[in-house]
Symmetry: C2
Subunit: 236 residues, 2 copies
Amino acid sequence: MSEPNSALPSLTQDAYQRLRALLLFGRVAPGAKLKITDLITSLDVNMSAVREALARLTAEGLVIAEPQKGFRASLLTEVDLRQLTDARIPIEEMCIRRAIDAGDLAWEQAIVSALHGLTRTQHYGEDGRVTSEWAEAHDQLHRAFVSACDNPWLLRMRETLAAQGDRYRWFAAAASRPDRDLDDEHRCIADAFIDRDADRAVRLMSEHIRFTAETLLKHGFFKTSTRTASPIKRQR
Amino acid sequence: MSEPNSALPSLTQDAYQRLRALLLFGRVAPGAKLKITDLITSLDVNMSAVREALARLTAEGLVIAEPQKGFRASLLTEVDLRQLTDARIPIEEMCIRRAIDAGDLAWEQAIVSALHGLTRTQHYGEDGRVTSEWAEAHDQLHRAFVSACDNPWLLRMRETLAAQGDRYRWFAAAASRPDRDLDDEHRCIADAFIDRDADRAVRLMSEHIRFTAETLLKHGFFKTSTRTASPIKRQR
DNA sequence: CGTCAAGGAGATATCGACATTATTGACCGA
DNA sequence: TCGGTCAATAATGTCGATATCTCCTTGACG
């Protein structure tokens, strides 16, 4: 028989990754109730696996746990997006400078490869939404930029904050597409990295992140105050 | 990580906090196997609660999960402590500057209160180890310093890294006590905060953190390379 | 004597049942 | 008609049993 173990290391781990992808990709409304019963059928695993996945996502900040009241997707608010952006930019800067400092040829190749992959990936699907493939390629490019950073803790912090940012971006991107040439932006950023121009890379990346946040805020997708608890969220 | 809930009807949450305290307080050797069976008897909860707690701690980086092989406490190594310190100091700086900028009188009072509490708490127990009360008071003081920071994400990052640092500190502190006047150090830092001298506070705090790390490294508690998997860890 | 395979003990991963709590909705009284 | 109490319902929290896997031991064979 083949090797199912290497492909499926653990069922609960798989459930965690799939649920995480659902959250990051904007498939779950902010504040939506995450009923364990529904998740059992949706993810096709048992209760323990669902609870473990929710526990991990709680620690990541993507899910909030209310004792005796279950779990719900974390809220997306204007102030939180501003705070997130303010925290993210300096941490991203630290990763960038270290990556440019320590990057080798293989790192440059990874950037070029990821950039090419992104430009050749379909951006919008037939439904007008950003495709999951593009979102994944976009993440990979940004991860490639900082992959040469020699400090795992900084990378971990960056990853956590980037995941939160993705949640905002992909949730809003379901409703409107920005009028920017994102391919060109990414190419300029990549050039700065390849040129080992840390200051330029930091500046472009900061603008890239901040402009995205500003665009989302301008559209007013995210309510400012405490939203009424949306009763149920169900999708197919 | 989260503030203590007034009501703790959640048994699994309680198990998580207790297990986390065990790890942070240095009661568990780095790399030690965390047998679920033992934890069930040790924490007096069922299996699901243990697994949920371990899942959260895995997301925090205090525990590493090896699929089909269980969980073990994260490793403590020289290089990791250096990287951790390098990542921690600039993030702590950001929190400090924002706290000093936004802090009000109540914040100053919290610092004074926490400082007084620390100086009046027994440092070493009869067994020569740092008391858990002192460790808790120490955490509270450092948390009070930055409590006025208006950015929850930066505070969250700081909390995560500080927890890792605690793990190094308290594990090593079980073996040797530093020849420093820690009370005086903390008082000087507190003065800088009360004086709203951000540069001084940052400088003192950076020295405080870095000196602690250097001391631990000098004693050579933590092995440099991959340690042999210690077979079992059991304590009472 | 070394190597490898088969077996067994122990630990982990998975699963569904049961108890507890929160929420909904109806009924009753003012 | 509105408000409040209480029962019915549904979801969550808790728990132990079972299946699967890993690792160590043992024994036979080369």
